[in-house]
Symmetry: D2
Subunit: 362 residues, 4 copies
């Protein structure tokens, strides 16, 4: 201790640097706008949190990038996703801070920002790619690539993230090979299909007999219901599933989809606790980004109305579209279509059940 300089909070956190990195563009014109400070600081805070989210996401990718994934690492991945989720909640809530800036206050420095824009956040693009958003799924303007507005250094890291396996990819591979879901010698799918078909049959009758509905509505709902039935047959039949994948109506492979469904259905078995939590957290992450985009779109509408954004985009309409479309794990949420009550679930044979439990209770 004697021969090294004592660590100080301010040095450790590089506060000298961090707290002197706010240069108001409006001040360069000689008329500093009070609210530009907030605008800079909240965006810096967003970027710091994005760095943290990437730090956690990378460690999750590490876990699932291994040839064989230790079950206790799945639980580690869950705790990392828990942290991402808490950060996302703050990302959403702190929009309220930015909303204390009114449209009139923003106008005092808005023109100074042109043509920079949040579309130039390389970290956010990397994040989307690492989660598994595909370049061809993105909503773009005109024919322009989403990487165009980025600085050269940003383009490089985003491109790199495009080329690497995403969390979606790694999850799919992991689900496809989960060995404890082999259920050898137990005809699970036949018995489960019977249960689901009988449930779907009941739904069909429910729709037809709904006393509150008109003929038109009943027809409308029957059509929707038929889609659910088709979708279920694809769950059972790999060929139908692959057809849907080809038509870009599904993305997750048949085998992985089946494994995910099993995890949801038998989540009470000890060895499935962490896998269930994992799928559950991935849906949370997806939904929280959707909520963040939706809140962002609402704020922008109020801030600039139908004006164009500082980056030249048409503002909130675009943001709302990305909220609707930029989803990665939606297929997991859709699986609930095929859930049946525990009581109707095929009971697992004793030897399989033991396989899914703790060694101590053997």
């Amino acid at each position: 201790m004697s021969n090294k300089k004592l660590l100080n909070y301010a040095d450790y956190l590089k506060l000298e640097t961090i707290l002197n990195s706010q240069d108001l563009k409006s001040a360069e014109r000689g008329t500093p706008a009070h609210d530009e400070m907030l605008f800079i600081i909240i965006h810096q805070v967003y970027e710091l949190w994005f760095k943290q989210v990437l730090h956690e996401l990378d460690s999750v990718l590490d876990v699932f990038g291994q040839d064989s994934v230790d079950e206790s690492n799945v639980s580690l991945a869950v705790s990392r996703l828990d942290r991402i989720i808490e950060i996302q909640k703050v990302l959403i809530d702190q929009i309220r801070i930015l909303e204390t800036m009114t449209a009139m206050d923003f106008l005092e420095f808005r023109d100074d920002l042109f043509p920079s824009s949040g579309f130039q956040s390389a970290q956010f693009r990397v994040l989307e790619n690492k989660l598994g958003l595909q370049p061809n799924e993105r909503i773009n303007y005109g024919n322009q690539d989403y990487k165009n507005p980025l600085l050269e250094s940003g383009k490089q890291v985003v491109k790199k993230a495009e080329s690497e396996k995403s969390l979606f990819d790694l999850l799919e591979t992991w689900l496809e090979r989960t060995p404890f879901l082999s259920f050898e010698g137990f005809n699970f799918w036949e018995r489960y299909s019977d249960a689901v078909r009988s449930m779907l049959q009941k739904e069909d009758e429910t729709i037809k007999n709904n006393p509150n509905h008109s003929v038109e509505e009943i027809e409308y709902h029957l059509k929707e219901h038929d889609r659910a039935v088709d979708s279920f047959e694809a769950m059972i039949n790999p060929d139908k599933h692959n057809e849907l994948i080809e038509k870009k109506k599904k993305r997750l492979s048949h085998k992985a989809t089946q494994a995910a469904l099993l995890i949801f259905l038998y989540r009470d078995e000890p060895i499935l606790h962490s896998p269930y939590n994992l799928l559950s957290r991935l849906m949370d992450v997806d939904e929280l980004f959707t909520t963040w985009r939706q809140r962002h779109a609402l704020m922008v509408r109020r801030m600039i109305g139908a004006k164009i954004g500082t980056g030249g985009s048409s503002g909130h309409a675009y943001l709302q579209k990305t909220a609707d479309r930029h989803k990665v794990f939606g297929e997991l949420a859709d699986l609930s279509t095929f859930f049946i009550p525990r009581s109707a679930l095929p009971e697992l044979p004793k030897n399989i059940k033991r396989n899914l439990g703790y060694f101590f209770n053997r």
Copy 2:
């Protein structure tokens, strides 16, 4: 005090009644589902809060239903809206409680609920009507009226709310006659139009010269921009505005729209503080209901996937549509399109400025 029974907390709150109003349908079948209790209680809590929101909303309607609205009552209305807003935040946040119920847990009692559904909440329909949602703006199923699924008593109150003046109506009337915005002898609109047109011209150039954009994008944004220009001309020209109203592209009258814009632009003048806060809170209320619907739609997707809802609806897709469309005060948010920086704003003549101030400072 001696001759009346002492008041007790439990009696005051009628806890004996309130806390014995949870009858599990699943229990009637002999298999009580643990999570049905949560389902009942959270919906009862929602309805209690709806009652409170209606209590506050009614008092706001009272304020603006008067022939002449005292300015200090506007400030009372703002504090009532503040309370509604805090309630709305809780309505959104408590979705997290319901999300602790998993899709599998819901299935244990879901069939018992058929065909009852949240669409049968009379209070929520009354609330929408009192805010100003118009029957013909509603997204309906088939040809069915949204009141059909309600009990007879519910239908009556909802119908009554349809026939009364809504907050939208009363606000419009109040805006149309705000006497302190007469600006007699001051050619405001001409000077303001010049400032806006020069801003719009600048935007036009910004779009054309954006080095990050392709030809297609520039065209796309120019088209959007032209819409903004048209929209501005309607702001100045009552005939154009009325055309848009006839085409159902606008709803708020020309005079009221101009008054709202003036309140936004000159909100720093003392007498406009409360009116500004009022408009601002109305946008908050609108946005928070949108957020509530969006969160609700996400939750339902995860809970039932593509299954039909207990009321026979096709679930989350419908809810998402209402989030996009069931807005009442969106035109206020759009006004920011026409904001210009304070520095470009026509300065008010001294006598008008005094008119908008406190008596004490005369």
Copy 3:
């Protein structure tokens, strides 16, 4: 379906009853106070949530009241506590709704409430008792029993909860007998003590050598440190621990304390995931009630200042004291005093480690 009346949302939730249970006392005097509605409704909402918390807590008590606790039931208990936690967050956040009522507005009906008071919430007393708050730990006024202000029916249920095993009691018993922590043939405590003593020795030096501290401060911290050392010796030595229990300085038995520590230290082992989550959630529940009491105390100070409460209590000072003292699982939080880095932790022998894993990976 044909022979039973169709279920309706309003009937299912008994809305007719629930929404007609708000009788304003101020209205009986002929001068209804607008804000009394909020006062009644928010308290009814609190009581509904308390009922839900008790519903979840009872199911947790059921799990741990069994002679042998199935490990997968521990995971069920955790999910029930998760729900309690989400409810607690809303209980805290909705204080903001009540804070929209100002002190002046409260005065309009405050005298009408006398002498009823939140102290008369039987459900909250039952809740405290079921968690494990002991009657003799409670902060009382004068010599009065905390049950005195309750209605007779309330007294009965609170008394019953006093006499039953609390969650604290059941947790203690469960911890004492956790079979998978026997560690036979592995001298854990000796090796762990060495590691802790060396850590404590290092802390001792750290204090003595702190260049930022004066002599007085160093003495002060050394005294604190000595207490930590004593506390650690009690962790190792059952006799010392029992002494502290007799002096009311500790409550959790020596054996249970050791088991809890082991769960914290080896929480990465699969079979300890749920037990770790359990302890962690219990600390959360405790802390959230503390936060709720603290926020409540702050609100009351602002609402009535130094006035007496409607129940005759001296208001916020009392509430603040209960926040400081009414804790049940604080000893779990204190265990972190004895945590050491994973790297310094005695490695578990292979056979013990296997015992704590999944059967599948044997």
Copy 4:
């Protein structure tokens, strides 16, 4: 535009610098601790928000540092405080992010931080001083000045803030000279005193006749009540008030206290809207810092138990004490002790009432 480099988001926000300012101390030892990244980033985020809070606070100090404070600037100050409040809510909520780091995870790098500590945050000390926390009110360790652990540069700015007028000071001066509260020719205090004394008399009887209370409790509450009576007499009588100031039981001057009370009582008058909002927000800011300290203390207890902090302090006990004591605007909250219902309030003479209204309505 052509002759200047186009602004880019990453350059504008200095992301290259900001995102490369996280150097893990544990990495220097060759064993990077995953969670140290979170520890660094969340503290950097806290410091960025502190900078923003100081930016807003400085502008509020500017407003009240003027020789004559324009009423419309009071409303500006309120909107700046609104922003501080939204930031404080995020400061509190983001503790949940840090709580995803467990005590064991913290141990992996805790020793690397010695002896740096949050006590070395110069910005937070400046913030406390600018609000008005007095050096002699601070809870210190031993005889050490709270500035000692700071870097030299930090000491300088904190010292400067000590020597300048705080918000408390400026508020006091502003309250003392509020011209619109002169009430000349209207014997306000006599009539108000009568109303309060009659209210206090009623409280006295309420206590004596409480059927739920024992003799001891009644005595206890009477003693508390007498303190309220004394406190009220000091409100009326400047000499008694000054005595309390000398005994350090009060801080705000008699004249300022009276002005604050008037603002609370007549807040419905237009010219008092902003002053009322101001006082109200100052109580919010105070309470939110208290809540932040309380939550911080709870978190630290769980993270390190009775261990000493990295800065050598005895951790959570100290933090809890600062939560109880480091308050600046508590005297404003206490004023509610002397509120009386609107109906009992002396009615203002017409000419005074007009003085407090808008010019337009004269």
